[in-house]
Symmetry: C2
């Protein structure tokens, strides 16, 4: 048990606190609280849980939450009309449409309809392009949370070798872009990568975001490396029970790594904290105010 534990839960609580602390100054300057609209279409139970957590977090941060629950048979046109209304609403700084959407609605079309300056999820093509070209925009909350944990743990990342396992638009690719911008030498590995263990073994920083339970083993890890585990996989725990594990075989990697995020309690809590952070930043930008330092 050599590795230091990267306590994402504690860091996320701190970040949420810093966001909440900054809200009154924004409200005083702007004459209103930062506002986040969350749209849920249908009755997916996991989505409903996420939306509830987000609503609670928004309230705790002193922000204004606008929850829109639409029936599962909502048409794409109706959802796009709602997005247009939210784009035009001056009280709304951030718009989050909870994914997945029902099959009659094209997710791409809905994301494309969100004002990029209210796209606090960072999924809009304009925000992907801003990240790719080094312009200010919004980056997806999960890789942003990973970057914050890394910088909190390591300070400057300059010159470190990072391997990102997974090339999704939501985690792997933006993570690689952010690490490159932070002056890491970055490799993106994926399902077609040959000798994945050998490639991961080069890394000072490993970010695993593949969605395969405990795939990353101890012998893949360079001793002392910092390991960020984005995976959340539910597996059979015997006796009819299940448990959550990451993409990293925690119980063995903990003996080799220098520091590691647990699952749960690592990256997971960062996502909502970064959503609040992005919403505050969106609010400040829209109001022409400087975003608070240290977020």
């Amino acid at each position: 048990m050599g590795a230091a534990l990267i306590d994402g839960k504690a860091f996320a609580a701190g970040l949420r606190g810093r966001v909440a602390d900054a809200v009154p100054a924004f409200a005083a300057a702007a004459g209103r609280a930062p506002g986040l609209a969350v749209v849920l279409v249908g009755e997916d139970p996991a989505s409903a849980v996420y939306v509830r957590s987000k609503g609670r977090a928004v309230e705790e941060a002193g922000m204004a939450g606008f929850e829109h629950r639409l029936p599962a048979d909502t048409t794409q046109a109706d959802l796009l009309a709602l997005v247009a209304t939210l784009n035009a609403d001056p009280a709304v700084d951030g718009i989050l449409v909870q994914l997945p959407l029902p099959p009659q609605i094209a997710e791409d079309a809905v994301i494309a309809a969100i004002d990029p300056d209210k796209d606090v999820d960072g999924f809009h093509v304009v925000n992907a392009g801003r990240l790719a070209t080094g312009q200010a925009g919004f980056v997806p909350c999960t890789p942003l949370g990973c970057l914050m944990l890394l910088q909190d743990r390591l300070g400057s990342l300059k010159g470190l070798e990072a391997v990102v396992i997974g090339r999704s638009n939501i985690v792997g690719k933006p993570m690689a872009a952010m690490l490159t911008q932070a002056d890491c030498t970055v490799t993106i590995a994926h399902s077609r990568t040959r000798d994945l263990p050998g490639i991961v073994r080069r890394a000072d920083i490993v970010v695993a975001a593949v969605g395969r339970a405990e795939m990353v083993r101890a012998e893949w890890i360079k001793p002392g490396a910092t390991v960020i585990d984005v995976g959340i996989n539910r597996i059979d725990a015997g006796a009819g029970k299940t448990k959550l594990v990451g993409d990293v075989a925690y119980s063995e990697v903990v003996d080799v790594a220098g520091a590691i995020t647990p699952v749960p309690g690592g990256v997971g809590p960062m996502t909502i904290a970064c959503l609040l952070r992005n919403t505050l930043v969106a609010a400040c930008r829209r109001a022409g105010l400087a975003a608070p330092e240290g977020l």
Copy 2:
């Protein structure tokens, strides 16, 4: 002299020929030739040479060229007004504003003003975002040319290890995104990379795009690797003369690599060929026609 020569000049001529061959069918279906507008502001001699070459290539391909030469003291507002006119002109499929622009004009603002669907240079943030997220768009001509040369030489790139040296928005970053999409395992190296020789030595594919004359040496190259040299550097050749060299020390790397692009005659000629290709593709998309195969 072991390495095969990757003859970009010949490949570019072939591509230009295939584009030219496809123009009559487009013109028959659309009732007009594909059109490229090229805008030159000021008298920069190198830019004037590029613009002339592009104009000649457009003409040779049977396309319609629209050249706009503006004085060096053109205001940003006047240039933006011209871009808006070209955006609205149905005869214009592609818009290229030759960079660099005079200091009174913000390049970012001009690029952002171009209709992304006419942005055949692939510099618009929306096209950077489309590339980053795997959507159809326009990718910058130079890395597109590199990819074509690699695929022509190697066939499938799946599982190959690629190292891109340089992280510019115009070459390095889009090149890395394209190679990732082609299923390579990609590392982006740059000025902050530690042990650059060791990292380059891992690569089956090396793309050098740093702008430092002959920086990449023979001992950096894995025997048999494919080396793409994007650099064009003018150096002192003694006796008051100069010569063009790449970022790769060609005379020594040629003994180690499996294949290599020369400078000049490698990547350089591909850029204009890919500009023509992008213009034809833009024209087909705007006309609702399928782009020809094999481009």
